[in-house]
Amino acid sequence: MRISLNSKRFLTGLIPFLFLLVSCSSNHSVSSNSHSKSIHSPGPPTYGDWLIRNLGSDPQTLNPVTSSDLYSSYVNDLIFSKMIDVDSDGNIIPSVATSWNISKDNKSFIFHLRSDVKFHDGVSLTAYDVKYTWDKIMDPKSLAENKRADFEYVDRFEVINKDTLRAVYKIPFSPALESWGFSIIPKHIFEKEDFLKSDYNKNPIGSGPYVFQKWKSNQYIMLTANNNYWGTKPYLKKIVFKMIPDQTVSFNSLLKGDLDVEGLTPLQWKKFSKSSDFENKFYKMNYYTRSFSYIAWNANGRNPFFKDKKVRQAMSYSLNRELIKEKVFYGLGELCSGPFYPKSWANDTTIKPIQFDLNKARLLLSEAGWKPGKDGILYKNGVPFRFKFLLTSSSDLGKRITIIYQEDLRKIGVILEPQQMEWATFLERIKDRDYEAATLGWSLSLDPDPYMIWHSSQIKEGLNYVNYSNPEVDRLIEEGRTTFNVKKRTELYHRIHQILADEQPYTFMFHSPSLVAVDRRFQDVKLSNQGLGLFLYNPGQLNWWVPKDMQKYRRY
Amino acid sequence: MVTQPILKISHLSSSFKSGHNYIKVVDDLSLHINPGEVVGLVGESGSGKTVTALSILQLSNCLLEGSIELNKHELIGMKQEELRNIRGKKIGIIFQEPMSSLNPVFTIGKQIAEVIENHEKISHKQASLKAISLLENVGISQPDIRYHEYPHQMSGGMCQRVMIAMAIACQPQLLIADEPTTALDVSIQSQIITLLKDLKKQYNMSILLITHDLGIVAQLADRVAVMYAGQIVEDAPIKEFIKKPEHPYTLGLIKSLPGKHKHGEKLFSIPGTVPNPLSWPNGCHFHPRCSYVEDQCKVNNPCLFEVSPGRQSRCFFAGRLPDEK
């Protein structure tokens, strides 16, 4: 399970996501104004043509074990295959592992693998490769910290025979299954290599639907269809990832046809894609990524403001989210009320997001003892309500929200002093809990387990840097992690949602819209309705095909 | 037999453009040079003698009126291409500052050969051979080694010799020497003067020698013309000039020669200074400083007239000046 905050394309564009626990198939349809239903043209799917996608810049590395950024996971998902995978509704489906069974005490899993899976160099994939991959993840020298944390409670993972493996846990751990969907690396190749410096990290050999062909750094990565792929053969002959960092240039490349898929900013979506020729050239897809943006109020007592719940509630009341949604997202975002994905079962839909109400904020602040001074600024035992507000200088939307928020806060006598920081500096201040307030965002994995963020044990070491500790919430989280029964977990998480909505450790802001345009020549383009977008689920783009007459790249 | 003058300047006046008006620096100058003759053009600095020299080859960008004839070819108004065939070929020129008159980034040999190649259609090989012989001709030792040296590696005197070699490379009929020795020390000066004398005989060329040093004129020149404030005030053969100058200014010049004064006496010097071209006095330009000044000198403008055959002076009392003992 992996939670991460994305800052480079904060609040816009594609947000990282990987795995999901078993969840009931929800029937919410995607928001009304998108055309996600794929238009079937007559005739069976045909092979051929290329798909050109855009990554902002080079992926970190193409070694699935050591990589941690979104771009490498996009490419690796096509090159490598996994034991288990996820479908568009977020359910876990078999992949290399045909089936798996969970012991009665929910503590051990047995995976049964297919025997006909071959690596791109012809060597067949066995349980030993899976074990080798797992050993490499657990080996500290391979620097795969963010994956190793998933297997904290694993007692042992052993090979029973060529096609079966067993994983035994110390305690029953409900979000366990999804963590076994990691990309399998070839043991016979990496055995002989120095794991970090090996040349295979730049031209990987996997067992997935696409074979790596060429990577010219900061130019493009080219993958070709794997003819003897063990699963259903992909229709598209080649997939190319271009590196175009500038949004204006990438948008125009899309219009000119040099790109087939590209994310749009809310402004481009609203002002541009209304034109008719955009409509009949591209599908327009709009969905909520599994992420939310928030303002973190540091309650570690070093500042005299945010330890008090009333003050935090007042701050949430004074953020005019409705107007921001209208003017910044052009009505496309959705207000967020708690730490869970709106369509996930863990989200309690009865809790409504806080409405913008300055008078209520003034009332709460005066109850909390903050009285307006001569110059209109609030004071409490001599201390003016003036605090520093951290944001990253690379996130354009973060800046706009801060400016609007600053204006409203001034009306109720609170002075917000924005401090723009370069990403690495910002990260350092957050890590050392050296801030009063900061605006960030989380992108969630499929499993809603909030242990990493809200459990009091994570205050010193983990990601709970707002210093939030509530014994009841701790108990609920621990219970939630060990029960496998979905109905029980739903009640627990709904209770957590109510407490957090009341205590407002964060001011929960928005679920950011992810807006994608895809060239209409592709058929069977399907959008996941669990926020997995177009590519981060199986089969994703493997189903896409282009009728013979509309194929653009045919020569090679 | 009346010899045809090589160079005949009549009523030349050249003026500099400054702002929107023109300042006349040389005013109605007439001078002629006969073949093989050395004419000294003498005057204090600022009297316009260098401008006159440069105007002959139109090297200074000033407006020229009047006429300059070289063997009956009128130079003023001549097309640029034809003027180029005159420069360096028919008229050679050497300047006062030899060190800065040579291009620092080219060897002296190359700069000499350049003149030859420019005017005579001969191969580079022959041009450099001719340049080496010229260097020898002007008295530079080991000319084949010196050929490849740069101007900064040579002394002032040697540079002047190179300039002379360059000027006479194409056997010009006239050599203009603009204060050739002023920048050199005395011992080198006499060497340069003897060199000029030999070359005059050898190439039978006439020289226009521009200087402020009467001593050099006496040694080298056949005839002398004295300039003051843009005008020629006296033009006479050298011997008669020294014996009896016919113009108050030239009289003063001769008197101020160190050799002429008696022991213990204070050296004589003409009072006042040369007027600025912007503010030439009307009437005779010299009248503010002239000790024989009369009223008419201040009003009307004396013209250059024949005092005796071959002698001219621009003074109302020319010929009737009392002899100074």
């Binding site: - | 291009n103 080219f106 900064h152």
Partner: protein
């Protein structure tokens, strides 16, 4: 001459050490560390727990004292091994060799274009000083210089890529370039190079032509130019042979100053035109605090700077015979 060059090279070594020392310590002054950045990529993830970061620092050897780290780096440098990038563990030399030709190619072409255009312009405006020609050229060049690069890059893209579709706006070659025969391949590379080249060189015209003009004006008034005219040489020869060869001396030292710019590349132009050059590489390394890549780049830039200053001094002696070095 050779002893002078040897002396300069020996002198360059302490300078080089000085450069690497200052860069190394200021680099560690800036907050943020490669371990956190390598773990997070572009987002705060589970790995941000303090234990993981400490573990990562330990394996990368970032916890040792700074001098120890510096000497370790210097030891490897002596045997020409710049180490591996902290972000993706690829050899630093390999990463730099990939980006170097792109930046060098573009900047060299820009430098050549700038000098080819501004030299004659400078000479003309000096020759015809204060005429209409001189004034209009100068004003036109200043107008060109004043255009902000961000603005120009966008206008070029909108005009030539979006509207006229003459030149592509991103990348250094099209995807199917290796299938082409050599001639279309070359044409394709050139087409990709036009827009970034314009952005790189348009500002240089004004700067270089101003220097050439002021240097020419000074030379034209010298005595040897009058001598050259007195020799009856054509005006063309006087200006282009005698005057220009003297006026070039300060321009040569200017060339020396331009060479380091070759490596700098411009982050903005490379990001807008997705030109995989050193500017982009440096900016990425800077953001992810990739110390070894940054030090590797500094080594390259300092070698080029020291070389270019030495080269411009030697060129000075070649062009001006009055100067020679014992």
């Amino acid at each position: 001459m050779w002893s002078y060059i040897l002396r300069r090279v020996l002198l360059a070594i302490p300078t080089f050490i000085g450069i690497s020392l200052i860069t190394f310590f200021i680099m560690h002054l800036a907050p943020g560390d490669p371990a956190t950045m390598a773990l997070q990529g572009d987002s705060i993830g589970k790995g941000m727990s303090a234990a993981n970061i400490e573990q990562m620092k330990e394996t990368l050897g970032l916890n040792d004292a700074l001098p120890v780290q510096y000497f370790r780096w210097m030891k490897r440098l002596v045997c020409l091994d710049l180490g591996e990038s902290l972000k993706d563990h690829r050899k630093v030399t390999e990463k730099i060799w990939e980006a170097l030709p792109n930046t060098l190619l573009l900047n060299l072409l820009a430098l050549i274009v700038v000098y080819i255009v501004s030299l004659p312009l400078g000479v003309f405006s000096a020759e015809k000083q204060n005429t209409f020609f001189d004034k209009s050229i100068t004003t036109a060049l200043f107008i060109l210089y004043a255009i902000p690069v961000i603005w120009l890059a966008l206008l070029l893209i909108m005009l030539f890529y979006v509207k006229l579709n003459w030149f592509p706006a991103s990348g250094i070659q099209s995807l199917d370039s290796e299938y082409m025969r050599w001639w279309p391949w070359l044409f394709d590379r050139l087409k990709h190079m036009i827009l970034p080249l314009v952005c790189f060189s348009y500002a240089g015209f004004a700067v270089i032509s101003r220097y050439v003009r002021s240097s020419m004006l000074e030379v034209i008034r010298q005595d040897y130019i009058r001598t050259a005219r007195a020799k009856g040489l054509s005006e063309h020869k006087v200006i282009y042979k005698h005057a220009l060869s003297n006026a070039l001396i300060p321009i040569v030292t200017l060339l020396g100053l331009e060479l380091p710019g070759l490596l700098g590349g411009s982050v903005i132009i490379e990001q807008i035109f997705s030109w995989p050059g050193l500017g982009w590489l440096f900016f990425d390394a800077l953001n992810s605090r990739d110390y070894t890549v940054i030090m590797g780049l500094t080594v390259f830039t300092s070698i080029l700077v020291l070389l270019s200053t030495l080269l411009s001094d030697i060129l000075y002696a070649v062009v001006d015979p009055r100067i020679h070095y014992e």
